[in-house]
């Protein structure tokens, strides 16, 4: 496999994980504009573990997932006290604070970036990505999927039906954080270099946009969104700026014509 094709496929695999990281809280009714914060936490903790303690990159990645999940679970308590637009703004503020903190942490290079020499190859990244897809698909076949949908459709009714609304919301937020951490850890170890400047709120916005492009009604949506977002720019030759112009026009067009996203709900998902 050529190096170019491989790096595109790695990006695809990582973007799929990122898409689900934004999708999980979104189906629970939370617009998380702080996904990049958890990506950064995953990337930097994995890098730090493998650099300073000589941990195997895969176990470092798993520890990083735990780290991102723990952070997500902890910040979910105050963040889920807020609602709607306030929640989106709180996650956005969290993103800025986490990025600012990492930029000031000299142990991980601060503003000058952080090299991570230990390498994870394409097959492992792909395997993780597949595992994530399978897990999310399975999760939405179980009670969890129905509960999440119920909570986002109508919190009060879900509560009346005996669902732990706060529990479901916190689980969705934490699971999203864990996936974001995984994506970060894999990115750090595959590309061997990370920079905190890249994990700003605009990165979070991009992730949210490609999930919405695919649609949030089904578990296929994020998959399609990530694929289009990764592959379309590669097919369209030209400068990066033109690619983003086309991407933006595409989003505007799709939101005007088919605002629920490209893939719509089928019967099996709703019942």
């Amino acid at each position: 496999m050529s190096g170019y094709l491989e790096s595109v496929l790695v990006l695809l695999a990582i973007n799929i994980i990122l898409a689900y990281a934004a999708f999980l809280p979104m189906v629970a009714g939370q617009l998380n504009l702080g996904v990049a914060a958890f990506v950064a936490i995953g990337a930097y903790s994995a890098g730090y573990l493998s650099n300073s303690f000589g941990l195997h990159p895969v176990s470092a990645a798993l520890m990083a997932v735990a780290m991102a999940a723990l952070t997500g679970w902890l910040v979910a308590f105050p963040i889920l006290r807020t609602r709607g637009i306030y929640l989106a703004l709180a996650t956005f503020a969290l993103n800025q604070v986490v990025q600012g903190t990492i930029l000031n942490l000299n142990v991980v290079g601060g503003a000058s970036g952080y090299p991570v020499p230990a390498h994870i190859g394409f097959p492992v990244v792909a395997a993780f990505s597949l595992a994530v897809i399978v897990l999310v698909f399975l999760a939405f076949r179980t009670r969890f999927g129905i509960s999440v949908t119920a909570v986002s459709d109508d919190e009060r009714v879900a509560d009346l039906m005996g669902l732990s609304v706060r529990g479901v919301q916190s689980a969705a937020f934490t699971a999203g954080a864990a996936l974001a951490g995984l994506a970060g850890a894999l990115y750090a170890h595959h590309f061997n270099y990370i920079e905190a400047q890249n994990y700003g709120v605009l990165f979070s916005i991009y992730i949210v946009l490609y999930v919405l492009l695919g649609g949030t009604q089904t578990v296929y949506g994020p998959l399609l969104g990530a694929a289009v977002f990764t592959l379309l720019p590669e097919l369209l030759r030209g400068s990066a700026a033109w690619r983003y112009v086309i991407f933006a026009c595409l989003i505007i067009a799709i939101m005007s014509l088919r605002p629920q996203g490209v893939i719509l709900k089928r019967a099996w998902f709703s019942k």
Binding site: T82, G100, M255
Partner: protein
């Protein structure tokens, strides 16, 4: 020294305040977080640079730059709020984000990614108030900001269209039943927001003599913080929040260095959201949807 920091903070804050007013109008009246605002700010700033460099007299440059904000805002309105009534509630937010990406990259294609130096159309003048240096263009900027908001406040309180806006802010359905022309009033919100944003983009380009395709992001994120700190939907809150964020920023640079700014500013935002989500001047929490 402390006085100088406060003055610098207030000047910076006046730029945030104007952006915060644009955000707060869209949230307060339309319940819509308009993410295209950083794009409008940047286009106005870059136009200011381009026109002044081309030797256009500054009042004309100001007029064109500010008008650009209004026009682009009306374009954004076509594709965001106008579609909101018949689609999911998150659509306008998403589309406005796409507009931000669109504007940034179009400007990048036309003018490149360099940080441009904005030529000053007049001699920089400053005066001393005791030991404190006050720059006149910055003071004029602050004056503009307060004046513009006072005018807006008057329009909201006294005029027919202002009453219409406030009715929509209370309840859009009731507003329609009462005969408010929502279809005519909503573009006005976008227009005013766009003009405010562009005015602050112009002032920023003049005061700091720099412009780049990404200049809007940081300012607008601080503008959002200013809006929340002051209380969403409250235009005087936006001014208060903007000035406060400006002062917090200059003090945190002074005390902890430039890299600590984000931690203090957005830490303040997080704290406010957790403790008093209605902000300093806000009323009851509105169940705003995203």
């Amino acid at each position: 020294m402390i006085e100088q920091q406060i003055v610098n903070g207030l000047m910076l804050g006046s730029v945030y305040a104007l952006v915060a007013v644009a955000f707060t109008l869209a949230i307060g009246v339309l319940n819509f977080l308009n993410f295209s605002i950083p794009g409008l700010f940047m286009v106005a700033g870059m136009l200011t640079w381009f026109l002044l460099r081309a030797g256009i007299p500054w009042p004309l440059a100001a007029l064109l730059a500010i008008a650009s904000g209004g026009l682009l805002a009306l374009l954004v309105e076509r594709f965001t709020y106008r579609l909101m009534s018949r689609s999911e509630h998150f659509v306008p937010l998403v589309t406005s984000m796409a507009f931000l990406i669109l504007f940034e990259n179009l400007v990048l294609i036309v003018w490149g990614s360099d940080l441009q130096r904005v030529p000053l159309p007049f001699e920089s003048v400053s005066f001393k108030l005791g030991p404190t240096v006050v720059a006149v263009p910055q003071l004029a900027g602050l004056g503009c900001a307060v004046l513009a908001v006072a005018l807006l406040d008057l329009v909201l309180k006294k005029t027919r269209i202002g009453r219409g806006l406030r009715t929509i802010a209370e309840d859009a359905e009731v507003a329609i039943m009462l005969g408010v022309g929502v279809g005519r009033v909503v573009p006005v919100v976008f227009l005013v927001g766009g003009l405010f944003t562009a005015l602050s983009g112009f002032l920023f380009a003049l005061n700091y003599q720099q412009a780049s395709p990404f200049m809007g992001e940081e300012i607008a994120l601080k503008g959002i913080s200013a809006m929340v700190v002051g209380g969403m939907g409250n235009i005087w809150g936006a001014i208060l929040g903007g000035l406060l964020i400006g002062v917090v920023e200059t003090f945190s640079i002074h005390l902890f260095g430039a890299r600590a700014v984000d931690i203090s500013v957005y830490g303040l935002l997080l704290a406010i959201l957790f403790v008093r989500p209605t902000g300093l001047l806000g009323g009851a929490v509105r169940q705003a949807r995203v």
